[in-house]
């Protein structure tokens, strides 16, 4: 019961913040090269920084025990690259397509369907042997047998290193921001910094609540959807876990936020585009499960825990998104000219 309540609670908050803040990692990475627009990218960095500090303090205080994902370089590289390609085809990252389902965007619903389907077959179906073998064949653990982390490699305490990184990042940021004029003084909506801070705070809140429900990890998306599929197929008698309720909460939160802003409406792209977002979702589901996380599980939740696997996955997601954006959008423009 606790998992249902706190999962839904965090999900509704997350969905609300995502919708009102227009937070999307697909746009963040793609726009940086396609539109030379870095606003959402700055939001992602702000969220990561807030989480880094939050996790570091909570870990030191004993409120959480960080649980970094393993480093399996082959699975991280391949899975996350495929995921990055998939999210460009799907028109949104794993969290983006989930909250937009609550906005009534049918193209995002077909993407979620693809994500859940391929995620299920990779986690528990015919693609499982491939995933298991690739992960096992490319796993590198730390000297203590634990997951490889930045603080582990440097032989440092997690909280100390996290605070050092956060301080360096803030100083670098301050000087970069100072050297540039603010081009976005008239940023409509919540503004990139507020959105980033709020996303980070939801991530911080998620960690102890999820851990209390028996799942010691902050936010994620893909595994939550797979849990929903298993429940629908009645695959297991086990009830849906915290993450699945959180994912359902995102849709509810996105829906409420869209209603308040009078932005809710069922709207569908052309059938061929829906097929494209579905195929994108399939690639995302396969990629996320192979790599052990999507843009939320690895990038938003894993990087602040300084997991080397998550850092590699994050880089690979960006590279996949850039490769797909180049082929889909930049190349056709060049031919046009």
């Amino acid at each position: 019961m606790e998992a249902v309540l706190t999962g839904l609670f965090v999900g509704v908050l997350f969905g609300f913040v995502l919708q009102r803040g227009r937070f999307c990692m697909n746009s963040a990475f793609r726009d940086a090269i396609l539109l030379q627009d870095n606003v959402l990218l700055k939001t992602v960095f702000a969220a990561l920084l807030v989480e880094l500090v939050g996790f570091a303090i909570m870990d030191a205080a004993g409120a959480i025990a960080i649980n970094p994902k393993p480093f399996w370089w082959g699975a991280n590289l391949l899975g996350s690259f495929v995921f990055g390609i998939g999210m460009v085809l799907a028109g949104g990252c794993a969290s983006g397509i989930t909250y937009r389902t609550g906005e009534g965007m049918v193209g995002s619903m077909t993407a979620v369907l693809g994500l859940a389907t391929a995620g299920f077959f990779t986690a528990a179906g015919f693609l499982k042997p491939f995933k298991v073998n690739l992960q096992a064949a490319t796993t590198v653990s730390g000297a203590d047998g634990k997951a490889l982390t930045l603080h582990g490699i440097l032989g440092m305490d997690y909280t100390t290193l996290a605070i050092i990184i956060a301080l360096i990042a803030v100083v670098v940021w301050y000087f970069v921001a100072k050297s540039k004029k603010d081009e976005y003084e008239a940023d409509p909506g919540w503004g990139w910094l507020n959105t980033g801070i709020l996303v980070g705070l939801v991530g911080i809140l998620a960690f102890p609540l999820s851990a209390a429900a028996g799942r010691n990890y902050p936010l994620g998306i893909t595994a939550g959807w797979i849990g929903v599929v298993k429940k629908i197929l009645n695959f297991s008698e086990v009830s849906m876990g915290w993450l699945s309720w959180m994912v359902i909460g995102i849709i509810v939160g996105g829906f409420i936020a869209a209603l308040i802003a009078k932005e809710f409406k069922f709207r569908a792209p052309k059938p061929l585009v829906m097929l494209q977002t579905f195929v994108g979702g399939l690639l995302m589901g396969f990629g996320a499960v192979t790599s052990g996380g999507c843009n939320i599980g690895h990038l938003l939740s894993g990087i602040p825990q300084l997991s080397l696997g998550s850092i590699l996955a994050g880089v690979s997601i960006v590279l996949g998104a850039w490769a797909a954006s180049y082929v889909m959008f930049i190349l056709p423009q060049k031919k046009d000219q």
């Binding site: 746009s27 906005e103 409509p188 709207r267």
Partner: protein, 82 residues
């Protein structure tokens, strides 16, 4: 409602990210200086993203109006770099 009469109308309703932005930018590029483009769109992220990016290209946002639901109407004056 604005008094301005648009030279051209672009309907990108139902299009997925990032087509509303891309189609708006390419259309503006082909227009003469002073011509007005009316964009009809229903994707909230683009409603916030298009204004800041057309500005970088020198185009001028005249107004944004929310119609029913997520449907918006945007009027942009082209910079005319044709």
């Amino acid at each position: 409602m604005s008094e301005v009469t648009p030279t051209k109308t672009l309907d990108v309703c139902g299009k997925i990210c990032p087509y509303p932005d891309m189609n708006t930018m390419t259309t503006l590029k082909k227009m003469e200086k002073g011509e007005v483009l009316e964009v009809l769109l229903d994707y909230p992220l683009s409603v916030e993203r298009i204004p800041r990016n057309i500005k970088k290209q020198g185009h001028k946002l005249i107004e944004v109006e929310q119609l029913d639901g997520p449907n918006h109407r945007m009027l942009i004056e082209a910079h005319g770099l044709k």
